[in-house]
């Protein structure tokens, strides 16, 4: 029997009740151990420095130093720190800045438990994770411009929702070949843009599963 390696986690969120929910959820997974909790950015930075957790689960909006500033500071002190941004959907306007702060992953606060676990495990393993429901929001630049066309966004969203190429083709009344060609374009564009490389990685990941 192979033993799953332990993953230590630091939780940073200014809402005590959100940390409580997360703690209760993570208790169900014995290989994940919460080694600290922070209610603001400054505390998150100092705990990250002292306890060197494998993954830092970070809320975006916090009083004082917010999650983005805290992520930047943590990455500055511990360059290989792994930050997983844990965000409410209503904060998606901040996602682009999150991408630039050095975080390795994004997950919604309302994500199913399995998605949360996968996100923590992937980020701990040094990979990137983007919550499928955030993918299309992440291809938009800060100025609202989009690297993708409307059709490409539509296809990305369907793939992010878990559809296969064949499903997408059927839904949009186009051939599978056309879908594949769109996906190639999407990947090329996303990978060419440093802001959206994480989405590209996540998309490849979503398609392999």
């Amino acid at each position: 029997m192979t033993k799953t390696p332990e993953i230590t986690v630091l939780l940073a969120d200014d809402h005590e009740v959100v940390r409580e929910g997360l703690r209760l959820a993570l208790l169900r997974s014995p290989h994940i151990r919460v080694v600290g909790e922070a209610a603001d950015g400054e505390t998150a930075v100092s705990l990250a420095e002292r306890r060197l957790p494998d993954v830092i689960v970070m809320d975006l909006r916090m009083p004082g130093m917010d999650g983005i500033e805290a992520t930047e500071e943590i990455i500055r002190i511990i360059p290989d720190a792994k930050v997983l941004i844990f965000t409410a959907y209503s904060e998606r306007a901040l996602l682009q800045r999150g991408l630039e702060s050095g975080a390795r992953g994004y997950i919604l606060k309302e994500a199913p438990h399995e998605t949360l676990l996968r996100a923590i495990e992937k980020v701990a393993a040094g990979e990137t994770f983007v919550d499928p429901s955030l993918m299309s929001a992440l291809t938009k630049g800060r100025d609202g411009s989009d690297v993708l066309t409307a059709r490409e966004r539509e296809i990305l969203q369907l793939l992010a929702d878990g559809m296969s190429n064949a499903d997408v083709a059927a839904q949009l009344f186009i051939s599978q070949e056309t879908v594949k060609s769109h996906v190639r374009h999407i990947l090329t564009k996303l990978e060419a843009d440093t802001r959206t490389q994480a989405v590209a990685i996540a998309l490849r990941d979503a398609m392999i599963d």
Binding site: H15, V18, E20, G21, A25, R28, A88, K109, E110, H113
Partner: protein
């Protein structure tokens, strides 16, 4: 001249409406959105426990999720009734402030000293405007760390105008943006705004000229 004044009034109104939308978005984000996220995590954990036949772990988590759901519901009720309470229309400003402060007392144990009967003599527009200022000032005071004691008074002035004054003994941090929002609401009512923060707490005052008080 008049056009300038009209333009200013329109700008103030648009600004007030934008501030109100932002206030609502922030309240919903900070309260119900977070609570529902926590409930989701808790029920997810409970479901896992129950699926594994571990009712002993699952049951207390469900109980906790239920308590948080009740909190979320109270939060939403508070947000909805704070938008424009029935009491304001039906009974007047004094009763609406009474209801608002009772909620703060019940949920957070804040004590209030009220002297607001004069508010009922004001015009409908002034009552609604002052109510929003009281509500926002209390929301902000609570957010800084609930004060133990808040004084609210509405006093007629010799000029025929009126002064609203709110003093609290809460934590000191007072962001400029918060004061700006309150000052903006006062300007929208054609009033003047002043405030002071000291070691003992913070007070704000809004003075309405006679015409504005009767609006």
């Amino acid at each position: 001249m008049t056009q300038d004044a009209d333009g200013r009034a329109l700008r103030e109104r648009l600004r007030a409406e934008r501030d109100e939308r932002r206030r609502l978005a922030e309240l919903i984000h900070d309260g119900p959105v977070q609570l529902v996220a926590a409930i989701t995590q808790m029920l997810d954990a409970a479901q896992h426990a129950l699926a594994a036949g571990d009712a002993a772990s699952g049951a207390p988590i469900v109980e906790r999720a239920l308590a948080v759901a009740r909190d979320a519901s109270a939060d939403l009720r508070e947000i909805v009734s704070g938008i424009e309470p029935d009491a304001l229309r039906e009974l007047g400003l004094a009763a609406a402030i009474g209801e608002l402060t009772e909620r703060h007392t019940a949920r957070r144990g804040v004590a209030f000293e009220l002297d607001v009967a004069a508010g009922d003599e004001l015009g409908d527009g002034a009552q609604s405007g002052l109510y929003q200022i009281v509500r926002d000032a209390l929301d902000q005071a609570v957010r800084r760390g609930p004060p133990t004691m808040v004084d609210i008074s509405i006093t007629p002035l010799a000029t025929g105008g009126v002064e609203l004054r709110i003093a609290d003994d809460g934590a000191q941090e007072r962001r400029e943006a918060v004061l700006d929002t309150l000052a903006g609401r006062a300007a929208e009512l054609n009033g003047t705004f002043s405030s002071e923060t000291a070691a003992t707490g913070t007070w704000i005052a809004v003075r309405l000229p006679p015409v504005a008080a009767q609006l």
